[in-house]
């Protein structure tokens, strides 16, 4: 009596869709029929779409101090109302204790982590698959001039045209002797999933990436960084994953430049990019939110609202569900602010202060190595029955 086996395929799929990717990985080994359904690229896409509609959550990277006094990186999933979370079993191996480990981005269930020097990792936390990217192809020039190179920008996103994930790296070069703030020039290279190497792109990088807390964001098919152009103006530098071109997006004109006591963060809100401006220090902080209503158009920056003043809040992390924003508190605690009722809630998630990094995440079965995208070359005929 095998009742579940009697279910028609489409109803059985309804059940499988409601399982997290981790459970589906186990279900693969129940029997060959289940294996064939779960590994089918069409199902993987269906499952991904289902999760985008129903199971979006927040992925958090933070540092914790072990009893030996060392700092360890930990990845967690913050679900639902924020009061429940799950720690993820991602094998960071040597880089578990890496102090500068950054969460770069997320696409379709795959996340990218890096220490901005020699280590870039792509991994799918649900399927436990991971891959370290090969070394950079960009040259170092020490023997020609006294140039110092440094990776200043890293981005991760998806190219919808060629159906693959891409990682972009910007390397900047300084002339050691001049010691100026802005690099002499920058070059960029792209890694496409499925290939085995980096490829330098022959474009000028029109602005120089700089650090700003919680700024790097993937939106609208492009990755965005905080940057400064050659005239010293602050801008948003964006890289389009599809046509592999850089674009400079101006900041709103009413921001006072060069004021280093003010922080700028870029978040995604209501399908637009939003700039959050707030003081770096202070017990009470107000957060001004500017939304770029029309992407790329400077005049469309609108001061939509101001949050606060709030006490004990360090900086914003990510918008969740359009009416809630998660923030990091001043003592390494996470909090959530509800935009509707203006309520601040303390969440029971702790970490070393300033080590929090978040992104919006869905779990999926998508492979880190690519190749299981639905619209493969041979599958272009559409509804071919491969089930």
């Amino acid at each position: 009596m095998e009742v579940i086996g009697d279910l028609p395929r489409e109803l059985f799929l309804e059940i499988l869709l409601r399982l997290p990717a981790e459970s589906l990985m186990r279900c693969k080994y129940v029997c060959k029929y289940w294996h064939s359904l779960i590994t089918n690229p069409k199902f993987i896409q269906l499952h991904l779409n289902y999760n985008y509609n129903n199971n979006v959550c927040v992925l958090l990277k933070r540092c914790l101090v072990t009893c030996l006094g060392q700092k360890e990186n930990l990845l967690s999933l913050v679900c639902g109302n924020g009061f429940s979370f799950e720690n993820l079993d991602v094998d960071l191996s040597l880089y578990r204790k890496e102090p500068c480990l950054q969460l770069l981005g997320h696409c379709d269930g795959i996340i990218c982590l890096s220490n901005y020097r020699d280590y870039i990792l792509l991994c799918n936390p649900a399927t436990r698959e991971s891959m370290v990217l090969p070394e950079s192809c960009l040259p170092c020039y020490p023997w020609i001039r006294n140039l110092i190179s440094q990776t200043t920008g890293l981005g991760f996103g998806y190219d919808a045209k060629s159906h693959c994930f891409k990682v972009v790296r910007i390397v900047s070069y300084w002339e050691e002797l001049r010691g100026s703030n802005l690099p002499h020039f920058s070059r960029a290279e792209v890694y496409s999933m499925g290939t085995d190497s980096w490829k330098e792109i022959n474009v000028t990088v029109p602005a120089h990436v700089r650090y700003s807390p919680c700024f790097e964001t993937y939106f609208n098919g492009a990755f965005h960084w905080y940057a400064m152009d050659d005239n010293g103006n602050e801008v948003i530098l964006s890289f389009n994953m599809g046509n592999e071109e850089f674009q400079v997006i101006p900041m709103p004109s009413f921001i006072s430049m060069h004021d280093h006591s003010i922080c700028r963060s870029l978040l995604v809100w209501n399908d637009c990019i939003a700039l959050v401006i707030y003081p770096e220090r202070g017990i009470e902080k107000s957060f001004e939110i500017f939304v770029m209503k029309e992407y790329g158009v400077k005049e469309s920056w609108t001061n939509v609202l101001t949050i606060g003043p709030l006490t004990r809040v360090e900086r914003p992390l990510v918008f969740r569900k359009n009416d809630e924003i998660l923030m990091e508190g001043s003592h390494g605690q996470m909090m959530s602010y509800n935009l509707r009722n203006k309520e601040v809630k303390d969440l029971p998630i702790y970490g070393v202060p300033k080590s929090f990094s978040t992104l919006v995440y869905v779990n999926s079965l998508v492979s880190v190595k690519g190749g299981n995208q639905m619209l493969d070359q041979r599958d272009n005929t559409g509804e071919s029955d491969e089930w």
């Binding site: 009596m1 095998e2 009742v3 579940i4 086996g5 009697d6 279910l7 109803l11 309804e14 059940i15 499988l16 409601r18 399982l19 997290p20 981790e22 459970s23 990985m25 186990r26 279900c27 693969k28 080994y29 129940v30 029997c31 060959k32 540092c63 914790l64 101090v65 072990t66 009893c67 006094g69 360890e72 967690s76 009061f83 979370f85 799950e86 720690n87 993820l88 079993d89 436990r128 390494g332 029971p348 702790y350 970490g351 070393v352 202060p353």
Partner: protein, 246 residues
Amino acid sequence: MGSTSTKIKLRTSDQKVFEVEKAVAVQSQTIKYIYENGCPDSVIHVHSVSGDILSKILDYCKKHVNSAAGKEDISPEELYEWDANFVKVDQNTLFDLILAANCLKIESLLDLTCQTVANMIKGKRPEEIRTTFNIKNDYTIEAEEAVRRENKWAFDMLGGVGTMVIEELADDTMSKCVTNTKSRVCVIAANQIVMMRSISKLANKKSIDVYKQPQNPTTPRIKESVKQRNVGTGFIELFFHFKCKM
């Protein structure tokens, strides 16, 4: 005549006839379509659903219609509990409900029943899933060995990382945990992992030893039982990572 007192007659596959209020019956998009496009007085034949199953489904529809219309004073949490009890049935009935909910196009019931089956699958290892649903393992021994090597963690005992935030660390906390592949148990308080022990040592223990970071680096590490420890923030995050040898 008020529309709320309109009744619809339904005949099942085993020739049982049910007379239900229109508002309840049209929860099913199929019945709604037939009613609106056919003769309202005739009996609607629901040929793929048996009497027992239809009776249960009508209970579900009635409960949800009444709660939505405010006829029954029931909170969302109570309705959620009612739904949870509704699906506490044997597998045969559960799958019959899925088939019927699909055929009658009752989306919320389909979602509820499918999610129930999904919850029966979550967190189980492959052999446990086979046992629960009586599925035959058609992998040959060699094939199974090969896939085991490919994704060893999927076969480990009770896969999954468990985290719980609790007010006080009780004696029976261990029994509530879900486990996964590594062999450490971490107790985290505030931003400090205050305890890391290998699970094999913890297997049958009732209390858990905690190593506190010394304030003064020269003093030796203090070992104390968790029950006495004042965590300061009021609760401890228990973070479990362990695997049992198979």
